[in-house]
Symmetry: C2
Subunit: 300 residues, 2 copies
Amino acid sequence: MPRVIESVPNISEGRRLEVVQAAVDALASVPGVRVLDVQSDRDHNRSVISLAGDEKSLPDALLNLFDVALTRIDLRSHQGEHPRAGAVDVVPFIPIEGATTADCVALARQLGQAVAERFHLPVFLYEDAATAPHRRSLEDVRRGQFEGLAEKLRDPQWKPDFGPAVPHPSGGVAIIGARMPLIAYNINLGTADLEVAKRIARAIRHSGGGFRYVKAMGVMLEERKLAQVSINMTDYKKTPLHRVFEAVRSEAERYGVSVVGSEIVGLVPAQALIDAADHFLRLENFNPSQVLERKLRESD
Amino acid sequence: MPRVIESVPNISEGRRLEVVQAAVDALASVPGVRVLDVQSDRDHNRSVISLAGDEKSLPDALLNLFDVALTRIDLRSHQGEHPRAGAVDVVPFIPIEGATTADCVALARQLGQAVAERFHLPVFLYEDAATAPHRRSLEDVRRGQFEGLAEKLRDPQWKPDFGPAVPHPSGGVAIIGARMPLIAYNINLGTADLEVAKRIARAIRHSGGGFRYVKAMGVMLEERKLAQVSINMTDYKKTPLHRVFEAVRSEAERYGVSVVGSEIVGLVPAQALIDAADHFLRLENFNPSQVLERKLRESD
């Protein structure tokens, strides 16, 4: 089966759409790469590009992207609401099909080294590709932004993983890594009491002592007069959907509140739903290769 | 997204493997067709070939198959345990991805007409492609087998849908149709009492007053000392997995018996499991296009 890996480079340009288009063209010019989505934000002055490919095509495409971005974006004159430290600010690799996190870490290292050599750009590895615990979090790596880079890179704690310890004059640094796909998952409660949703959110999220790969908050659905536990699942393999659903149901019961429904916002890997079916149907020895569509693609 | 349709032609040859190979080669020679599986049975003297393709490639491939089978198989000298009425006995089309039952019915009619014209072979349409209720069931269409065809075809009730009302001298007839993918789904009970499994099977199966698209029987898992409800799901869209699971759980409770697990034998369409997750997670407004892998293939 061909490996499918996603990458979601964020570039520091959301206003000059001809530059964004040049970046997209540079990515799409590589055979085997599919550009899935492009979102440009004027206020953030930033674009988020989703693409899919394999371990051969993606690095070529992303090197093209760095070439365009470092030529056409100058952070010395860049303004926008979103924090940024690089012309190509962040590049995560995400395993989708037939690929593992380890594959994506290897890809992040490979691209990081190539980018550093070709463009004399300092590169930090983050999330699952991080080389030290204090470098895992994107926010920590980016703290100080472009303007603070010269000083940050003098700190031995922030020696780049690849490339020189001085920022690229116009392009800053690149932050390249590997992470699992995110799932935006919301659970709606049969109550208009926002406080219940907030308490449940605290109970299930990592920062409150809950599941390791869960971020959550309570919000109010004003139109439906329902409180919602709004969740980001950062690793559906280690903290699966069904466990979070059951935990919210159990916590809600303590307040005499029912779960009236849930929703997935945006995309979800098929495996996350298949894992939920596996759980609730109490499947024994179910193997992903029994999924018909997967079998079909194995024979591609 | 490219349409994916499966076809599972059954040919009346399971001993002369060079003939089976010629049949497989004839199918695989058409670009866009993938042969997924070949099962030959000596006792049945029959082979079951699974292939996938689209509405363009499949009819070409299957016409090639008829050509080989009608040249190399002679039912006048065929013996085997499995009932058969044609050299190519049965050809179902099965919607897998981006295709509907209606698409498969159209394909069955198209192939039936082409086969009748090219090979002067009588063709019956069955299951979802049937042109009358008494022709839906494969068993009914095939009753009397090859040897009884001359007489059967004289009955106006059994006028073929395409082709002459006399059987092909060596090739008999062809039975072509459309059906949903089958799911073999077993539910294991926390009891060694086979009678409980038999009663539950009766309660849930169509013939016993249960679900329309369920066939079921009670069997004993001797090694595990567990009774099992062994189920064939013939249309998972209209009778979904979760409904059958919950019905078995509820019926078992009545005997104080628990459901200890379930198993899927062989292949299952991803959608059947996603539908189960949708149910148990109480998803609101979930759309199949939110499945990441599907989104990726849409951009193929």
